[in-house]
Amino acid sequence: MSSKGPEAGAVSQFSGELQALLDPEGIPHCYQCIRCNSACPSALATGVFNPRKVILELLLGELPDVTTEDPVWMCVNCHSCEEACPKGVHVAGIMNAVRNVGFKNGVAPKAYIGNATLLLASGLVAQPQGIDRARNQVGLGKMRMPNVEEIRKLLEGTTLKAKGGGK
């Protein structure tokens, strides 16, 4: 992660949700005890994803410049970190807020964009190919698909609609 404007104590420079997550009562709750990392399956399995470090950078006032290769995308939102945190920090919420900023700049790994594209195309995150065959195999009929026009209308003006790919 590279940094943008590392002014000390600059939590307040972040607007909106990210700041509220870092600094819920005017005091940053995280004291870097590393229990989030110890509980994290992605940290365990990859050796490169490090939620504690993401939070440290934010506390130091560095708004991460998220790239598609950034390990922050390895967070699977399992909430193990939040169960482990002695201070009640919304660690996964912070990982999401950071990635939301990245996606606003059009940055996300292919698999994420793929999910968004499928969602915008059908209202479900599912490849259309092979559904009928899978259902026939167990004796189930065609499934009813959601009203995707309504979903697209609901998402009008969102980042997801603008940057999620597809038509």
Binding site: A45, V76, A92, P109, Y112, V125, A134, L154, T158
Partner: protein
């Protein structure tokens, strides 16, 4: 009087794992549960991919799904913990932040919907153990399943615990209780509470298989003859992913995967075809052989 619920199947179950859909449709009516599938649910949307991209869109779609059930006054139930997690987390935020709710309702107004906060959400395992109760569940067991079964709860059924409001993550016991009710023996094993790792596969394939390998190895070495799950993501990782992990690690785990309602259905006298076992990738013959026909 049957209990009625609004059934939300999610994306993965009806499209990739219809055996899970089949099993809940066959098993829950045996317990006097009526599943109303007439609602126009879309993707919940999932928290591993859509929430990290755009939380506002995630909230809007979740609020739409919740709003669909409000008029019917039913409790929403789903076989997918991804769905129950998204809906309960979104509900938690919308019910505790008036400004946020007003903003999301502005958006919902464009499609003539409104979120009022009335819909209750329960995963189907929670319906089974809390609403119906395992005593009543035990009454439908005809053919005991004499099998050593390891339970895997996954992440989103229980976490974050203060929002999910079911069992505590590290002391959960409903799946083991169900194993006992159907005549099997629960198996204790290391790593019970570890994530399945499927989602990690989209950014780190090796890490994902490593998690599957650890889990399946400990289940097999603890004597587990089947792995019981309550989540389609975990099901995919351990059923289809088991073949990939076996190849990479040159291992033979031979651990059949069962969704919890499939295990109950077999014990209730339904056939392996009724439970869609023919659609599994990892062989389930050891499971069907363990069913003691009355």
């Amino acid at each position: 009087m049957p209990r009625r619920y609004a059934l939300m199947l999610g994306c993965l179950i009806p499209t990739r794992l219809p055996q899970i859909e089949l099993s809940v449709r066959k098993v829950f009516p045996l317990l006097d549960v009526e599943l109303d599938d007439s609602f126009d649910f879309a993707c919940c949307p999932n928290s591993p991919y859509i929430k990290p991209l755009d939380k506002e869109a995630w909230l809007a779609m979740a609020a739409r799904n919740l709003s669909l059930v409000e008029e019917a006054g039913l409790t929403l139930t789903t076989p997918c913990p991804g769905c129950s997690n998204t809906l309960l987390e979104a509900k938690h935020e919308l019910d505790h932040d008036k400004e946020l709710r007003a903003r999301i309702n502005e958006r919902l107004k464009t499609i003539d919907k409104e979120y009022k906060g009335k819909t209750k959400v329960r995963h189907m395992l929670q319906v089974l153990v809390e609403d119906i109760g395992l005593k009543k569940v035990g009454a439908v067991v005809k053919d005991p399943v004499d099998l050593k079964v390891a339970a895997h709860y996954g992440c989103h059924l229980l976490k974050p615990s203060k929002v999910m409001g079911f069992e505590e993550p590290f002391t959960a016991h409903s799946l083991e209780d169900l194993v006992k009710v159907v005549g099997g023996t629960p198996v204790e094993y290391e790593n019970r509470d570890m994530c399945c790792g499927l989602v990690l596969g989209s950014t780190h394939q090796d890490g994902s298989l490593e998690l599957a390998h650890r889990k399946l190895t400990t289940v097999a070495s603890a004597g587990g003859e089947a792995l019981l799950v309550c989540c389609p993501t975990c099901f995919l990782q351990f059923d289809t992913g088991q073949m990939r992990a076996a190849k990479k690690y040159n291992a033979d785990y031979s651990v059949p995967i069962l969704y919890f309602s499939q295990l109950l259905g077999l014990a209730a006298g339904l056939t392996d075809k009724d439970m869609g076992l023919n659609a599994h990738r990892t062989k389930t013959t050891s499971v069907t052989n363990a069913v003691k026909k009355a």
